[in-house]
Symmetry: C2
Amino acid sequence: MIERVHRHIDEHWPAHLEATRAFLRQPSISGDGAGMPEMAALVRERIEALGGRAEVVPTPLHPVVWGHIDAGKPRTLLYYGMYDVQPVVGEERDWIVEPFAGEIRDLPGLGECVVNRGVTNQKGPLIGFFNVLEAIRAAGGELPLNVTFMIEGEEELGSRNLPGFVRDHRDRLGADAAFFSMYNQDRDGKVVSYLGVKGILFFELIARGGEWGGPAGGRAVHGSNAVWYASPAWRLVQALATMLTPDQKHITIDGFYDDVATISPHDEALLARLAPTFDAATRREADDVRRFKYDLDGVPLLKKYLYQPTLNIDGIIAGHTGEGTKTIVPFEARAKVDIRMVPDQQPDRMLDLVRRHLDRHGYADIEIKFEDAYKWAKTTVDNPAVRALLRTYGEFGIEPELWPHLGGSAPFYLFSDVLGIPFAFGGLGHGGRVHSPNEYATVAGMRLHEKSIATFLYRLAEELG
Amino acid sequence: MIERVHRHIDEHWPAHLEATRAFLRQPSISGDGAGMPEMAALVRERIEALGGRAEVVPTPLHPVVWGHIDAGKPRTLLYYGMYDVQPVVGEERDWIVEPFAGEIRDLPGLGECVVNRGVTNQKGPLIGFFNVLEAIRAAGGELPLNVTFMIEGEEELGSRNLPGFVRDHRDRLGADAAFFSMYNQDRDGKVVSYLGVKGILFFELIARGGEWGGPAGGRAVHGSNAVWYASPAWRLVQALATMLTPDQKHITIDGFYDDVATISPHDEALLARLAPTFDAATRREADDVRRFKYDLDGVPLLKKYLYQPTLNIDGIIAGHTGEGTKTIVPFEARAKVDIRMVPDQQPDRMLDLVRRHLDRHGYADIEIKFEDAYKWAKTTVDNPAVRALLRTYGEFGIEPELWPHLGGSAPFYLFSDVLGIPFAFGGLGHGGRVHSPNEYATVAGMRLHEKSIATFLYRLAEELG
């Protein structure tokens, strides 16, 4: 049966690719809301076209599309996905195509690629999953599992309303395993598979004039006053600078590393297996970065990457940032900051440490505007979803590089901690430049992705028994 | 004769006000170039309408309007002015009127005001000067002096091409004194007169990924990499933080205060006279600032304000500054910074100190992008232009508060150092919120300004003899 599905994907590939490009042409930027209702409707229609029930469920911001296809099978997969993408504002000049035109371009060393915001992160894999279910049906088969869909529209905003959705709709989310599909091959074809994610805490630090000094009237004052009025711009800069050593290796917030767990034997074993094939230099070069912070390689570098929390400035702004000169003391300075958390760090605790740090250093006036947060999630090689995924890679002749978890974040704790079901994420295919201009996925990889997902669904049904 | 001119201004005030508002409605933002050629043409037409010769003289950026009215008199005034204004970008929501509509509004405690970008800084005084010359002619008099005009379009950009213009056109700038007209009354009617200006050095600090680390490809990378890639945003923050003590009182760049001169006996005498009427709290409150950096008042606070150089962040930007979250390591961070210089500091030397500081602290990779600079300029109560101005204030029954110099900057060193002629700047009238939303000038003050300038011109002719 798997072979028939694969053949169907090959024979109907032009139609699948066209469906994918059409899906990508719909902008869906959760940051400013552009195209979000239209995109949610497209997702709902896809599930209905597969014979499922579907509903666009409102949340305080962007709705979750819930759906269910009853295949009359004993086991149910919870397919988690996202229909929102990162903004493109400020990147306009850097794109070689319109970011939402679904254009195909030959990229150096990659061949034919779809270049579009969200093609890899994460609407390409989502439409690929729909294409696979359609292919299974069209090839004359039944779905090997019932499928419940939970497709959110706020992943790029930190999935802020997803926990509430899961809590409120727990009865509609009963399943035996959860899965999130991705393009997990690097540009050389190597599969990189992850058994978890880091957590993330996102907030803004805002310095404004007030009792401590600085312009408190919500407007800048003439720059000549810098001699006797303090500046919120300097204040934010000084406060931030207290949080990190100048070499950027160590975060100096008291207690920041207190809850970092010892690495488990399971993970130590993975690291030992991973180190020989782990090619740090290639990753670094692909990002156009000349050197790591650390003069390390192999397991020691991997341990830094995976088991150290970060404090990152995503953006900072104050005062006059346009053309020309304007000499002012700004009334406000803002920094968007995120903390990536590793086991066993908890968002509430980390936020509290930042507050205490600011207070202790005399910056009680600096506001922390909480944006969103979720904790890390970890799984192991023993869970049925991971086993099915590893079998899939093996059947494609690929020995995956297995990582204890991803450096990035996703709200998978909802599966591991809240719903208490095994989860996995992966799939073949290659893409890149996520969260950056000219996000792409190779066309060949997108086809391979669909085939790998087809195989995975059958193997998952077997593993779940 | 002066009385006749004053009467003419009173009788024709509605027409003068209308001419002023029309002049203000023409945007002229040197920062982005909006309306600059149109504004230069308006200035040229004004001079020609007064019977003068005028020429829009190109510079590498915005032209200087040069003009001359030969009144057949033995003495010549060089009238310096500016036809450009500060940008309004980012302030749109804060204006109570369109910034270039020439609107009149009753402002609390101020009465009828023109609210418009540039009304006080500095197009209101400029059109006022034209109105005065017209009034002298219309009242049946001759101008008491020949007038040469040098009206630049880059004052808000640090007058970057004015030094070159003065060098190249020295022969057309011969004069016995230079004058710049301003609204120099505070909201209580007190005249504040300044005998000089601070210098300014404006530059950008730019941190980018490179050999030291960080994303070097001109694009941001996913924020999860912050754990092992260094960030230009942190780098700029850390570098800036090394330049100032946390209380913002002391600049920690080696040698920053080395060239600060001892206060002269002339200035010490002015400070002693100034201190009793100097009302620091009113100025501070007008700026909506709750406290000074220093727990000082009177002469000690004045000395800080006037004789200390500053290092100010006019603006800072990096990464994602729009709505929503976007987790990236930015590839670049930029800060617009200015240094206000006091006697005897020199721009080249200060720029060099910043470079050395960055290098010594390990930030040789941070680029300093020089924007513009000019040195301070000082004069004394003994020069004929200042004497004429002080006599004018006296005739209006006002005892001026005399300051050794302004906290702000203007390129008056071109008069004192380059052309070697006495200069003064001032005039009656009140305005405020320069470089800020809702810049205003009182209508009553604008009328008084014109009268004071008329008086000044006659007194200056007498003083020059």
